[in-house]
Every structure is written in structure tokens, then in C-alpha cells.
């Protein structure tokens, strides 16, 4: 199952992705400005710390030498102490501002990204979902966003702080002792090369981590969705083994990453420490040579800390950055995914339709597969009912999917009231089509919410009217909370038949001109089916309806029957016509009779 762990043809690493993510900061100019202004103040203030400490040492030394006047000496010391306290308070305020606004900014950025991802997910066309898994998408919206956020909140800030401190300290050092500064200088490019090297090699490692995490999540996701199947076949142990294998693969990759950084961190520290040791040697030589005094050396080595500390910090930032740019790449890959179904620039609003539907020589294939529809043409007049018949996989569902433009035709055209569905606004098209899908998905919320799904502004009276027509009213009223009864994530507390009726009520409330029913009365008992059948009859009345029908009564009352065979229309006409002319239809019709009817007389009549 790991083969679908990554999207098909995993794209190359996206080097610009991190920069693009950082540009999202532009949406939070105010808090970003506060963050980096506070950072500037707080960091520059840090450069003053050695001066303040030196000031105190000087005060103590001076006090020690001016033994004569103890009051003056103590005054010096107290002043120096007061100065450092004042400094502490100020730096504290700016450090807080920097940290808090950085966090606020990054949270705002994560908020933006998640919303963007969610919006994208909502609008991606069905073909995207045929290829990508929920677990995949979830990881991008949660884990990848969080990694990126962590980098923006801390990594980027640390990087800015480190560079600022590094440059500031080097400047101070250069002014203090240029010759000694030249000793430190070669270490910087060395550090840079080390960083770049590790950044380069760790990025693909992190990418694999994210891929394996996605695989793990997909297994998890599937097990949550298919819980009952797993339990039914007592496959818990098998699934646990699968999950263990994925968890182990993830662990091994994480350990690999850690091994890399177990090398990086010591190297970075070592570079810094070797710098410190060589300053001791070369500084010592200057002292022994009499060109440097000890006080100046000490001041120099204090600032040296501000060169090496940021170096270590940058090493840490590199690991965050490598992770974040992988995550940013994954996020933008999703955000940049082209939704195949979008409004054309010059798309018109579809005016209220009468419901005339025409398929004009339609050929359709999913992705690059074999055509599932080939040269399909037919016309349906307003108010007519079309029954679709055919073997499993013959293309019935595909015809239905093309009407609301869930997919685009590969060739030919689908026209509603003479307008090509690709040339009108998707919203205006879909809002005039009522759909009762085969697998009914309800949303967590109340029964009322679910009925009013397509029209949240519907009045209670309208909702109840739709519920009554769909035979929902009785069972809804039976619950203690009536219409305000909550249904679970997938409508778990309702039976299949109840869910279907809610779905019918949902479609009824839209009062659409065009209706699509996908074999919706399958998973209910006989009594419920009678109820649903009656509800559907009411629903279909006076509308153009497409029904994938299993029911003989539907077929008989249909204005037109399309018999599909391997993506082609094998026969079309009314029940009576087809009974005369189409052997395929007769076969289907008789097989229905064999299964359903008691009377052998009926079978005799039906068989040609």
C-alpha cells in the first residue's frame, strides 16, 4: 500500500517554496514589523552586555583603588548595578515583544496556509481525489504547516538574530583588534560550507521522513474508515503488523536524520571552539610580544562569544530550515495543484433552466485510462425521466458525473438548455441540480443542518416540508431532540435507510429542475424502500430526472431508457419499444424478473 505514499511522479524539491512561504509574512506586516524591530533592538542591546559587565568590573576595580572614599566607591558600584538593572528591564520588554509577536505572526501565517489548503481541498476536482488519499492531504494541512510555522516562528527569527549578532560582533572585533579578527574570519566560510553541505544532504532525508509519515497516516486513516471490515475479518494483527512496518520505516528514517545531525552539531561547535582556542594562542602571542594588553584581550574574547554562539545557533536553524523547505514544497504542491474543473474566464451565469439535456457525441476517460464512455449522444426534454441501465462498470455513473461537471468530457459536449456546461459558472450549474448519491455522506451537525445543507438559509417550515416529503419527519420527531439531534461524523447514529432519506430531503429542499438519483434505495429494508420510493416519486415529479434504476417500476414509467454496454449506448427507447427491439434490454429485464417476481407467468411473458 506504500506505492501510493507519494503523489504520482513526486515532483523535484522546491527550492523557492520556503521563500514563497516567507512572503506570506507580507499578510502580517504589522506584527512582523514589531517582531523584527524588537529583535533589532534586543539583539543590538545584547552587544552592550560586555560593556555593562566591563563597566561593573571597572567600577569594582576603581572602588578597590579609591579606598580613601568608601561612599564614592560604593556609589560607583550601585550606579553600575542600577544601570544593568535598567538595561535588564528594557531588554526584557523587547525580548518579550520579539517572541510574542513572532509567535503571533507565525500562527497567523499557519492560519492563512491552512485556510488556503482547506479552500483548495474544497475546490479540487473529483479527479484529484481519485488519485490522492485523505491521509496525504491531512498531513499537509497539519504536520507540514506546523513544521513550516515552527521555522517561521523560531528558525527564521534565530537566523536573523544570529546574523545580526554575528555581523555586530565582527564589527566590534574588527575595531578592537583587526589582526586577531583576521584569525577568526576564515572560520566563517568554513562554517558556511558545513551548513550548506548539511542543508543539502538533510533535505532529501527529511523529504523521505514526510513521505513515510504520510504512509503511516494513510494506513491509520484507512483503518479508521474500514474499522468494521478489519474487525470482521479479525485482521487486527495483520493491520498492526502493517502499521508496525510503516512505523519502523519512519523510525529508521528519523534515526538516519538524527545520525546526520549527530555529526553536524559537534562539527559546528568544534569550529567555534577551535576558533576560541586559536584566539587564545594568537592573542597570547600578541600579549607575550607586548602588542596587546590583557584587558583588551579579555574584552575581545567576550565579543568572541557573540561570534561563536550564533554559529552554533545557525547549525540548529539549518536543520529546521531543511525540514521547513520540504514541508513548504509539499504545501505549495497542493496549493498549486490545478483543479481541472474551473470556471472559464468568460463563463456566464446559467439562467434558471427548463431542464433540457443533451449529450453530443460524448467520449470520456478517467485520467489516461481507456474510454469509459464512447460516442454517447442523446437528448432529454424538460420534465422527462431517464432510466440508465447496464452492467456494473458500463458507464452509468460516468454519465451522471458529467452533468454537474464533476469531470470534463474528453470529447464531445454536454449541453443543458443548449449551453455547454463548460461555458457556464459551476456554481450556477450545480445549484440547479439535485443529487442523491449512492453513498450518502452526512456531516456532523444536526439533522436540520444536514437537510438544509444545500440551502442553509431555508426556514424551519421549508425544512420540515422537505423532511415530510422524504419520510424523514417521522423518525426525526421520534428522537428526543427532534430535528436538533446531532448525527456523528459520518452520520453514524442513523441507519442506512435513514441517511438516504435525509439525503433525499436535502435534494428536495433545493427544488432543482434537474435531478440525479444514483441507485439510492439499495441498502434499506422493504418497508423503508416503499417510503423512499414514494418520496422519490414526489421528488421526480415535474423535473428532468436521471435515475440509475434497479427497479422495474422505475424503468417502466421512464420516458426514456438508456441501456449502456461497455461505455456505449446499446439501446434506447421506452420500455415497450425496447422490449420489442433490444435483446440486451430483454435480458436485463428478464433477469430482474427472475430475481424479483414470483409469477412464472410474468417470466414467460418477459422472455422473448
Amino acid at each position: 500500500m506504500t506505492r501510493r505514499g507519494g503523489p504520482p511522479g513526486s515532483p523535484p524539491a522546491n527550492p523557492g517554496a520556503l521563500g514563497r512561504a516567507i512572503r506570506y509574512l507580507g499578510g502580517h506586516k504589522r506584527s512582523a514589523t514589531i517582531t523584527y524591530s524588537a529583535l533589532l533592538v534586543a539583539t543590538l542591546a545584547q552587544l552592550a552586555v560586555p560593556i555593562l559587565v566591563q563597566n561593573m568590573i571597572d567600577a569594582v576595580t576603581q572602588a578597590g583603588t579609591s579606598l580613601g572614599d568608601r561612599a564614592v566607591a560604593e556609589g560607583l558600584i550601585l550606579n553600575a548595578a542600577a544601570l544593568i538593572l535598567l538595561f535588564a528591564a528594557l531588554r526584557g520588554v523587547f525580548s518579550f515583544l520579539q517572541a510574542f509577536f513572532s509567535e503571533t505572526t507565525s500562527q497567523g501565517l499557519a492560519f492563512d496556509l491552512r485556510n488556503a489548503i482547506f479552500t483548495k481541498i474544497q475546490r479540487l476536482s473529483f479527479s484529484y481525489y481519485d488519485q490522492n488519499q485523505t491521509g496525504q492531504l491531512m498531513i499537509r494541512a497539519t504536520d507540514d504547516v506546523e513544521r513550516l510555522r515552527g521555522f517561521i516562528a523560531q528558525g527564521l527569527l534565530m537566523a536573523a538574530q544570529s546574523l545580526l549578532l554575528l555581523i555586530g560582533a565582527m564589527t566590534v572585533l574588527a575595531f578592537t583588534n583587526f589582526q586577531l579578527t583576521l584569525v577568526v574570519l576564515p572560520l566563517l566560510p568554513v562554517a558556511l560550507v558545513v551548513f550548506m553541505f548539511f542543508g543539502r544532504i538533510s533535505q532529501p532525508l527529511f523529504k523521505v521522513v514526510q513521505q513515510r509519515l504520510s504512509t503511516l497516516n494513510t494506513i491509520l486513516q484507512e483503518n479508521m474508515a474500514g474499522l468494521k471490515v478489519v474487525k470482521s475479518f479479525a485482521r487486527e494483527t495483520y493491520e498492526e503488523r502493517r502499521f508496525d512496518a510503516a512505523a519502523t520505516a519512519l523510525m529508521e528514517q528519523q534515526i538516519k536524520v538524527n545520525r546526520t545531525f549527530a555529526f553536524l552539531f559537534p562539527i559546528v561547535f568544534l569550529v567555534a571552539q577551535i576558533g576560541q582556542a586559536s584566539i587564545l594562542y594568537f592573542g597570547g602571542r600578541q600579549i607575550l610580544g607586548g602588542t596587546l594588553d590583557l584587558g583588551a584581550y579579555q574584552k575581545f574574547s567576550l565579543y568572541l562569544v557573540y561570534v561563536f554562539f550564533p554559529l552554533g545557533q545557525l547549525g540548529f536553524v539549518i536543520s529546521m530550515m531543511a525540514q521547513a523547505s520540504v514541508s513548504a514544497g509539499r504545501i505549495f504542491e497542493l496549493l498549486d495543484a490545478k483543479s481541472e474543473i474551473t470556471d472559464q474566464p468568460d463563463a456566464r451565469t446559467l439562467p434558471p433552466i427548463t431542464g433540457r439535456v443533451e449529450f453530443r457525441d460524448v467520449t470520456f476517460r478517467y485520467l489516461n485510462g481507456d474510454p469509459v464512455l464512447q460516442g454517447v449522444s442523446f437528448v432529454v426534454e424538460p420534465g422527462q425521466t431517464v432510466a440508465l441501465l447496464g452492467a456494473t462498470g458500463s458507464g452509468k455513473t460516468s454519465i451522471i458525473n458529467l452533468l454537474p461537471r464533476f469531470y470534463d468530457v474528453s470529447q464531445g459536449a454536454v449541453l443543458i438548455d443548449g449551453q455547454d456546461v463548460r461555458e457556464v459558472m459551476i456554481d450556477s450549474l450545480r445549484s440547479q441540480i439535485g443529487l442523491v448519491l449512492q453513498e450518502t455522506n452526512l456531516f456532523s451537525g444536526t439533522i436540520r443542518d444536514n437537510i438544509a445543507f444545500g440551502r442553509p438559509d431555508a426556514s424551519d417550515a421549508e425544512v420540515i416540508a422537505a423532511a415530510k416529503a422524504a419520510a424523514v419527519h417521522d423518525f426525526a420527531e421520534g428522537f428526543p431532540d427532534g430535528y436538533n439531534t446531532r448525527v456523528g461524523e459520518r452520520g453514524v447514529t442513523l441507519s442506512g435507510g435513514q441517511k438516504q432519506r435525509v439525503a433525499i430531503a436535502r435534494a428536495l429542499l433545493l427544488n432543482p429542475r434537474l435531478l440525479i438519483l444514483d441507485d439510492s434505495t439499495s441498502s434499506v429494508d422493504v418497508q423503508t424502500e416503499v417510503n423512499i420510493q414514494q418520496a422519490l416519486d414526489r421528488l421526480m415529479h415535474g423535473r428532468t430526472s436521471f435515475v440509475i434504476a434497479q427497479r422495474i417500476s422505475t424503468v417502466q414509467s421512464a420516458d426514456m431508457i438508456l441501456v449502456l454496454d461497455q461505455g456505449r449506448i446499446a439501446a434506447s427507447g421506452t420500455h415497450a419499444e425496447l422490449l420489442e427491439s433490444s435483446p440486451i434490454y430483454c435480458e436485463i429485464y428478464s433477469s430482474q424478473l427472475v430475481d424479483d417476481a414470483a409469477s412464472s407467468k410474468a417470466q414467460e411473458e418477459a422472455r422473448p
Binding site: A81, L227, V229, F233, A277, A391, S591
Partner: protein
């Protein structure tokens, strides 16, 4: 997917209390330890490495001091490293300094390498522990009974395994190591201060309690806020999950904007909870830093004034100016690890919060567990007896009452009745997805509660209304019924279920990889594969939950034939609305309001002219008549 049939309102007994659990950090940490115990040697090694590494790093400070005392400004009394050097000439001193620097580089290198190794071994142990936590959580997902999922959104459970473990992972590696290393530095530095001049050391360290208080206060607040944010993250996940699952409906009903708005609210709540947590975490570091400067000021003021006045503290030695300088250094060296520990402390805290939630899930007692003395159910003949069975999902709201029947081996039992009558409940009790609340369900005389669930369910085949398939190859999906089955057996099962011919037409035949939940196949095709899967399992007892209904008419006839073969010699329970199935059944149970109101064969029931007759008249007759016309 979940409880169908009579599950109105869902079970109310199942716990949803893990968020109200007492927040016991100590217990949570102990639990973490139990996950680390198998890798104690890696932890011990880490401890050893980090102790040596930290000591080497701390030891560099006195050596740097010796560079001054022995070579740069030679001072006979202060130089212990190379006293001879004090009297040497410039060149000798420079050479000595060079050697000392090499010693320093050696110490630095050793410290760094050991630290890197400690980092690796800590992470190694952490990753292993984390894998175990993940695996345990995953196993718990399956151990929990169906009733749990009627109450808890899958997205919430998911976020335990994804975000919570991620937080733990971040804390277990680097953070924990830094904290340990920081504590060691504190101990060494504090020890040095105390041995130098203990009253002065106590004055210098007097800010430490305030630092501790600030850490505890801010991180406690942050932890509460993090817990909230984690819950909000759960709703974000749940929202995502639901909308991905229902994206077709969302688009069909033009609900994108509303659903985006809804997500935005959950997302904003999560952001706000995080920003609130940030106000505490962001305050901690600056407060600690400021307290560090207070400590320096204290050291200078108290030390220098004591030195100036020549007044020793608490009868110890007079403080020299040298001691004051040394203490300024010590306090600075003390402050840095404290800040580091405190900041990482919040990481550890949020890991504890994540751990609490995970362990809360792990601690839920599944409603259905194997009895301690559960036997393995031996190969069964398939005699199923319901003896005065009652069942309820909510206390006081029975969905089944006094249901008794016997299915002899090989019999087919058709269950009919209106929605919500309890049909699904009856079939859910046979593989013990739920427990009876009264009476018993026995298979070949074994109470299902007395045998292990695995041995029970392995002998029962189930075809659900919703044919769930995995995003794997067709071959693997069918083989799911019996993992060890050969390819030929899989193909034979597919042929039996009339699935072979359409599978052959798929782009890669049996090796075609299906999309999520079987995307790419029609509903009917999915069902055929589910039937093949059950056929391959070749169970003694077969449960069909309206399985034949959504296959198109032509295929259905084939399936019926397949079923006739499949049913032969097996005890079968069918919730069917096909008259032919009912007619062929050995026994028809008419269920209404949780009770069996009529039983017998189709013909017997018709002659009763009771509820079944009414059902027949309203449904099957209606269907037969137009067909006959």
C-alpha cells in the same frame, strides 16, 4: 459503516472522559519511562556520554584561566598547570601556551564528539519509544469497541497518533538532552560556587527560587493553554477529515463557502489558543534573563561592598575582588543553562500534555475484551443459538428484547423487518461487535463471550452494506479474506463471485491498484470484490447485510448463483429485501421493535396473514404485479 439498524442515539455508556482526567504529570512521566525501559542501556549510555561531555566542556574554563596564570601574566601561586613555565622565557611560554591550546582543542573535540554521540543515542532510544507508543495507540484503535466510534470523531483519534506523537518526538530528543546537560552544568557550577564561599554563593543564587517560580508559573499557564490548543487542533483535524470525505457532497451542493467558513472558525480558535499559550511562553525567557542580570547586580553589590568594608559574610573568609570577578563569571555561566532548561521545559510540558491525551486513549477499557479464561473456539459446525437475548445501546432503551432462535448448521436465516427494528443488532451480536445485556449468544454451544474474539471472527464471514476496500491491488483486497491464500485461490474466489471477468478488463488486471476506499470501481464492482473476499475466507457462518442489493440486475443473477454455492453447507444470516432470498431461506425471522414477532418459512408466514403478509402485500406484490403486467 458503524452501527446501523437500531443504533438510534448511539451508545451512551461509552466514556468520553479523557479530557477530564486528573492531570497528573508524574504519572504521565512514569508512563513515558515504561516506554523507555527496554532501551535503558541507550539511556544509560546517553547519561554517561553527556556527563563526560559536559565535564570536559566545564573543564575547559579552568584551563583557559591557566593560560593567563601560567603563560600570559605568570603568577606563581595561581598556576598549577605548568608552574615551571612561570619562570621560563618568552619562547618557552609561547611553546607552553601552544601545548595548552592543543590540550584545550582535545577537550573541545572530545566533548563535542561525545555530545554528538549522546544526541544520537538519546534520539535512538526516543525514536524506539515513540514507535512503541504509536503502535500501542494503533492497536488500541482496534481494541476499542464499535461503540466508541459512535461517540468519538475519527479525526480526534487521528490527531493523537499524529500531532501528539510529533510533540513528544520533538521533546524526547534534543530538548530532554539539553535539559539533562543543563542540569549537569548547573550542578557543577553551583558546586564550585558553594565550595569557594558558601554564604556569598547563597546570596548569588538567591534569584534561583524566583526563576523556578517563574518557570513553574509560566509553563503551567502555557501547559493549560497548550492543552486547549491541542483540543482545538483536534477539531481542525476532524473538520479536515470530514470535508475531505464529503467533498463530493460539498461540491454538489455548492457548500464550499460555508464549509470553508466553518473550517476558518475552528482554525481561528486553534490559532487564538496558540497565541494565548505564546503570551506565557514568550514571557518566560525575558523574565529569566532579567532575573539573571539581577543576580549579577547582587553579586557585584554585595561582593564588592563586603570586600570594600572588609566584612566577611557569616564569618567566612573576606571576599577578595578576585572572588567577585570569579562570581560574575559563575553567575553568567549559571544563567545560561537555566534559561535553556526553562524554555525547553515548555516543550517538555506540551509533550506531557500530548502524552496525557495518548495515555488517556490507551487507558480506555474496551467494552468488548476477551475473557481472562477465553478459549480458542475450535472449528465450528455453525449451530447458532440466541437464548432470550436482549441488547441496549443506552441504559434503559433496549433495542432487542427476549430474542430466541436456533439456526442449525447449514441453514439460511433471512431477517426481515422495518428500519430500526433490530436486524442489524442481531447480526452484530454474532461476531460479538457488541455485548448482549441479557441472555446469551452461543455458537456450537460456546457462549461468544467465552471464546477469543479472533477465533470467533475468523470463522464468520461478513459482507457489509458498505463495501470498504483498501487502496491496494485488487489481488490484495481479495486476499484480505485469507492472507495465506495462493493467487489461484484468490482467482477462484473472484470467479465464484463473478468478479473475475471485470477484474481481467482492468488496466493491470488483478494488480490494478485501487484508489482510496476502492475509488475507480463502481459500487457494484466493489461489492463483487467484497463478496470474493468473503468467499475466500470460506467461513462456517456467513453474514450478508443487504449485500446483493446494489449490484446491477445482470450481475446480480450471477451473484445469486455464487451465493447459492457460497451458502451451501454454511449457516447464513441474510438481511435481504430480495424475495428470492427470503423464499429460499430455511427460516424467516420477522423482527419488529426489537422482538421476533413471526417466524417460519416464507410460505408458512404468508398463511399466517400477519405482519409478514402485510409487508409482502405492500412491497413484493407491488413489485410482482407490474412485472407481470
Amino acid at each position: 459503516m458503524m452501527m446501523g439498524g437500531g443504533g438510534h442515539g448511539g451508545p451512551g455508556r461509552m466514556l468520553n472522559t479523557e479530557t477530564e482526567k486528573p492531570k497528573n504529570a508524574a504519572a504521565t512521566l512514569l508512563r513515558f519511562w515504561s516506554y523507555f525501559r527496554p532501551w535503558w542501556y541507550a539511556l544509560a549510555l546517553t547519561g554517561l556520554l553527556i556527563t563526560v561531555a559536559t565535564s570536559m566542556q566545564v573543564a575547559t574554563a579552568p584551563f583557559i584561566g591557566q593560560a593567563v596564570d601560567c603563560y600570559l601574566l605568570p603568577h606563581a601561586t595561581a598556576c598549577w598547570y605548568d608552574p615551571v613555565a612561570v619562570v621560563g622565557n618568552q619562547d618557552a611560554r609561547l611553546a607552553g601556551l601552544g601545548k595548552l591550546v592543543l590540550v584545550l582543542v582535545g577537550l573541545f573535540m572530545g566533548g563535542s564528539i561525545l555530545q554528538g554521540m549522546a544526541f544520537f543515542s538519546m534520539n535512538w532510544a526516543g525514536q524506539h519509544a515513540l514507535r512503541r507508543i504509536r503502535e500501542d495507540t494503533f492497536a488500541q484503535i482496534h481494541r476499542l469497541s464499535m461503540s466508541y466510534y459512535a461517540q468519538n470523531e475519527a479525526g480526534n483519534v487521528m490527531s493523537r497518533i499524529t500531532s501528539d506523537t510529533d510533540t513528544i518526538q520533538q521533546a524526547l530528543g534534543f530538548a530532554l538532552l539539553s535539559v539533562v546537560s543543563g542540569i549537569l552544568q548547573l550542578l557543577i557550577t553551583g558546586g564550585l560556587m558553594l565550595t569557594t564561599n558558601w554564604p556569598y554563593a547563597l546570596v548569588s543564587l538567591s534569584v534561583v527560587p524566583f526563576m523556578a517560580f517563574a518557570t513553574v508559573y509560566f509553563s503551567g499557564q502555557a501547559r493549560r493553554a497548550f492543552r486547549k490548543s491541542r483540543q482545538e487542533m483536534g477539531s481542525v483535524n476532524a473538520g479536515l477529515q470530514e470535508s475531505i470525505a464529503g467533498v463530493r457532497e460539498v461540491q454538489a451542493f455548492n457548500r464550499e463557502d460555508e464549509s470553508i467558513e466553518q473550517f476558518r472558525r475552528a482554525n481561528a480558535a486553534n490559532r487564538d489558543a496558540n497565541v494565548r499559550a505564546a503570551s506565557f511562553t514568550s514571557a518566560l525567557n525575558p523574565v529569566l534573563e532579567a532575573l539573571g542580570y539581577v543576580a549579577i547586580a547582587l553579586v557585584v553589590v554585595i561582593g564588592a561592598i563586603s570586600a570594600l568594608r572588609g566584612a566577611p559574610l557569616l564569618g567566612t573568609a573576606v571576599i577578595s575582588l578576585g572572588t567577585v570577578f570569579a562570581f560574575i563569571q559563575y553567575v553568567q555561566r549559571f544563567n545560561q543553562p537555566i534559561q535553556q532548561i526553562a524554555v525547553l521545559w515548555t516543550n517538555l510540558q506540551s509533550a506531557v500534555a500530548g502524552g496525557e491525551r495518548i495515555f488517556g486513549l490507551l487507558d480506555l477499557t474496551p467494552e468488548i475484551v476477551d475473557a481472562p479464561n477465553a478459549q480458542v473456539l475450535p472449528p465450528i459446525k455453525g449451530r447458532v443459538v440466541f437464548d432470550n437475548v436482549s441488547a441496549e445501546y443506552k441504559v434503559g432503551e433496549p433495542v432487542l428484547r427476549g430474542v430466541s432462535f436456533t439456526a442449525e448448521p447449514g441453514q439460511t436465516v433471512a431477517i426481515v423487518g422495518p428500519t430500526g427494528a433490530g436486524k442489524t443488532t442481531i447480526i452484530n451480536l454474532i461476531p460479538r461487535f457488541y455485548n448482549v445485556t441479557g441472555g446469551s449468544v452461543k455458537i456450537d454451544g460456546h457462549d461468544v463471550r467465552g471464546v477469543s474474539q479472533a477465533s470467533l471472527r475468523q470463522q464468520i464471514g461478513i459482507v457489509l452494506q458498505d463495501s470498504f476496500l483498501f487502496s491496494d491491488t485488487v489481488l490484495s483486497n481479495i486476499r484480505y479474506g485469507r492472507i495465506e491464500a495462493s493467487d489461484d485461490e484468490v482467482i477462484a474466489a473472484a470467479k465464484l463471485a463473478s468478479a473475475h471477468s471485470f477484474i481481467e478488463r482492468l488496466p493491470q488486471g488483478y494488480q490494478t491498484v485501487l484508489g482510496e476506499r476502492g475509488a475507480g470501481l463502481s459500487q457494484g464492482q466493489r461489492q463483487l470484490i467484497a463478496i470474493a473476499r468473503a468467499a475466500l475466507a470460506s467461513p462456517r457462518i456467513l453474514i450478508l447485510d443487504e449485500a446483493t442489493s446494489s449490484v446491477d440486475t445482470r450481475t446480480e443473477r450471477l451473484i445469486q448463483a455464487a451465493f447459492d454455492q457460497l451458502l451451501t453447507g454454511r449457516t447464513s444470516f441474510v438481511i435481504a429485501h430480495r424475495l428470492s432470498t427470503i423464499r429460499n431461506a430455511d427460516q424467516v425471522l420477522m423482527v419488529k421493535d426489537g422482538q421476533i414477532i413471526e417466524r417460519g418459512t416464507h410460505d408458512e408466514l404468508l398463511t399466517l396473514r400477519g405482519a409478514y403478509h402485510a409487508l409482502y402485500m405492500s412491497q413484493f406484490r407491488r413489485e410482482e404485479e407490474p412485472a407481470a403486467a
